[in-house]
């Protein structure tokens, strides 16, 4: 068992860091816009935004190569954007438009981008943890050198799938890096009522794999730790568990629940305090400026560009057509003709 708290390091180049900030801002814009768009009726069903989790998405996914696999959760927008997916397609999917990645059939809980080996989102909490192990197994059996990141939340870590998957992944030394985004809430349940031992990284010991607990608002810490785990996996040394501790800055668990005014389950002031002191976008911006990687001006330019990109995506999504009725029944089975 290794439980280490990573410190900032800088193996990252200036350009990489600027780009990573850019990604964080893209995600921030996207997520910040959604609650309002939901209230306007544009987001269909529900959706889960990842405010406060930008450094986890970008830090972790930046540690991957282009052919590495990613499995995400119900809170997936940030992961897709960090993976480089087209923001237009993702927003269109959140609007359930024909131009979305599933053609509007999945919505926010079913984001994927197969071209980028972003192998989809699972709306069942904890459902992806086993799948991520299987993707690692495929890589191992095919000796492809690919690694898989399997994202999940603090709440998901209490599903039996977590236990079964991490044990099996370790026994088989599959190249899967398990990244737990601990935003301290599972829907309305705080971490301490959720995990009997709130130090989730401790659990790695049960599976004889490295376990890391990192500050999830610290882009560097996330990146370096996940990178270490990815390298470990790629070398054939098996899976790791990285717990990135941050906070759910989003007003509510989901867009659907946020429309319900009766949902007071967080201590007063908690959200505001985290916004003030632990906003990962603000923290990263300041650090990059302090380090001389960004200037106020270049930072503002990144932010303006991102805003513009989102605005274009919005126009694209809102102007996209609704799916045709006929597609509703398409894509259930692959045609058997032309199989192996």
């Amino acid at each position: 068992m290794t439980i280490t708290k990573e410190k900032n390091k800088t193996t990252l180049s200036k350009d990489q860091l600027a780009e990573m900030y850019h990604q964080m801002v893209r995600i921030r814009n996207f997520e910040a816009a959604l609650p309002d768009l939901f209230l306007k009726g544009l987001v269909v069903g529900t959706g889960h935004v990842s405010l406060g989790e930008e450094a986890v998405a970008v830090g972790a996914i930046s540690a991957l190569g282009p052919k590495d696999f990613v499995i995400s959760t119900h809170r997936a927008h940030g992961h897709a954007l960090a993976r480089g997916s087209d923001i237009k397609i993702i927003l269109a999917e959140v609007f359930c438009k024909a131009t979305g990645c599933t053609g509007g059939k999945g919505g926010s809980m079913h984001i994927h981008d197969f071209d980028r080996y972003f192998f989809g989102t699972v709306g069942i909490v904890g459902g992806g943890i086993t799948i991520a192990g299987g993707l690692g197994l495929a890589a191992k059996l095919q000796k492809s050198g690919q690694v898989c990141i399997g994202f999940f939340g603090d709440g998901a870590s209490n599903r039996g799938t977590f236990h079964e998957a991490l044990n099996l992944a370790s026994l088989w030394k599959v190249p899967t890096v398990y990244v737990c985004t601990n935003n301290q809430y599972a829907m309305t349940l705080p971490l301490c009522n959720n995990c009997a031992n709130p130090d989730i990284a401790t659990r790695a010991a049960s599976y004889n794999m490295p376990g890391y607990s990192v500050d999830g608002t610290d882009l560097w810490a996330v990146y370096e730790t996940v990178k270490k785990a990815v390298d470990h996996a790629r070398k054939g040394d098996g899976p790791s568990l990285v717990v990135a501790n941050t906070y759910r800055l989003s007003p509510e668990h989901s867009l659907r629940t946020s429309s319900d005014p009766t949902t007071k389950y967080r201590p007063p002031g908690e959200v505001e305090q985290w916004w003030a002191e632990h906003d990962p976008v603000k923290i990263t911006r300041k650090k990059l400026i302090d380090m001389g990687i960004l200037t106020e001006k270049t930072a503002t330019k990144i932010e303006a560009d991102a805003k513009k990109e989102f605005e274009e995506a919005f126009q694209f999504a809102i102007n996209s057509p609704e799916p045709e009725f006929g597609v509703a029944f398409e894509g259930m089975y692959a045609p058997e003709e032309g199989g192996k």
Binding site: V44, G45, T46, C96, K97, G104, K105, G106, G107, S108, M109, H110, V122, G123, I124, V125, G126, G155, A156, N158, R159, G160, A186, M187, T188, L189, N193, N194, C195, T257, D260, T262, T263, K264, Y265, E322, P323, F325, V327, A328, F329, M332
Partner: protein, 324 residues
């Protein structure tokens, strides 16, 4: 005297009254305390009963249902909530191999008095993994009872029967009905498990429905009436054990049957209704029994597509017309 409640309030009121009546009744599940349940069906209970009896759980569906079983064996009357029917998939072992069989496997000794409540069916744009209804599975499992009320009155009365009963009951709450209101008597009442209800009498065709399809069938019956077709509409309410008698009596009168449910068609409980009725009322049937159901497809999130895939009133009308 009476008062008006929505379906979701009726659920909460049934639980509240039973918890007051019987100290062994308690509630466990995800986000049902402070939050009052993801679908608002347990609002107000925490304030009244406290954390000891209104128990929020982690996301651990096998533990929720397995603990409920143990608690029932230990003398309690747990009401466990699985937030969505789609996730009943996670605790099927507990439901099917343990809860349903514990009494039998133990030589008929223990009483497994527990209720597993779950939000079922689709219709609110939540997509393929959050819109399913698996009542047919549960009815295939001897040892369980299965109910699905369609209105606040039955919701309260059936839940009370389930809580007071001596056997495990799967209690299914159709998603799109939770905000519908009904008049609720002020005095205590129950609705018996195992009895269907004729909601509208008619002589030309019988429509048996449950869940969301009941209201759609009643609407269809109105339209049909205006075209001179007099449909009898039966709310099945208890899906297992099924009130075959009420259905068969109706079909003997009308000679025609349409079964309507929201779950997928193949292997849906509509097949069981049809198979049973054609066996018991073969000579009375003047036409084939028709099923109205979601075709064998996933339920898309897009609202237009969802509405297109889920069976609507027009499908009931069509089915009736095809056999009348």
């Amino acid at each position: 005297m009476a008062h008006t409640l929505t379906f979701r309030e009726a659920v909460a009121e049934a639980i509240k009254e039973e918890m007051k009546r019987d100290p062994t009744v308690f509630v466990m599940g995800e986000d049902l305390g402070k939050f009052g349940g993801s679908f608002g069906t347990t609002r107000g209970l925490l304030a009244e009963f406290g954390e000891e009896r209104i128990r929020d759980t982690p996301i651990s569906e096998t533990a929720i249902v397995g603990f409920a079983l143990g608690a029932a064996m230990g003398g309690m009357r747990p009401i466990a909530e699985i937030m969505r029917c789609d996730w009943m998939t996670i605790c099927m072992d507990e439901l099917v191999n343990q809860i349903a069989k514990m009494r039998y496997m133990s030589g008929g000794r223990p009483e497994i008095h527990l209720v597993v409540r779950t939000n079922t069916e689709g219709g609110i744009g939540l997509g393929p993994q959050h819109s399913q209804s698996f009542e047919a599975w549960f009815c295939h499992v001897p040892g369980l009872k299965v109910v699905m009320p369609t209105n606040a009155y039955d919701a309260k009365g059936l839940l009370k029967s389930a809580i007071r009963g001596r056997n495990p009951v799967i209690y299914m709450e159709p998603n799109s009905l939770l905000s519908m209101s009904a008049s609720i008597p002020d005095e205590d009442y129950t609705v018996p498990i195992g009895k269907a209800e004729v909601k509208k009498e008619g002589k030309d065709v019988t429509i048996v429905a449950w869940g969301t399809m009941l209201a759609k069938s009643l609407n269809a019956a109105k339209t049909l009436a205006s075209e001179g077709i007099d449909a009898e509409v039966i709310d099945l309410r208890t899906l297992h054990p099924m009130d075959t008698e009420t259905i068969v009596n109706s079909v003997k009168k009308t000679g025609r049957l349409v079964v309507a449910h929201e779950a997928n068609r193949t292997g849906g409980l509509g097949a069981e209704v049809a198979a049973t009725v054609q066996e018991l009322a073969f000579d009375s049937l003047d036409a084939p029994i028709k099923r109205v159901a979601t075709p064998d497809a996933m339920i898309p999130a897009n609202r237009r597509l969802e509405k297109y895939v889920l069976p609507q009133e027009d499908k009931v009308i069509e089915a009736v017309k095809s056999i009348v």
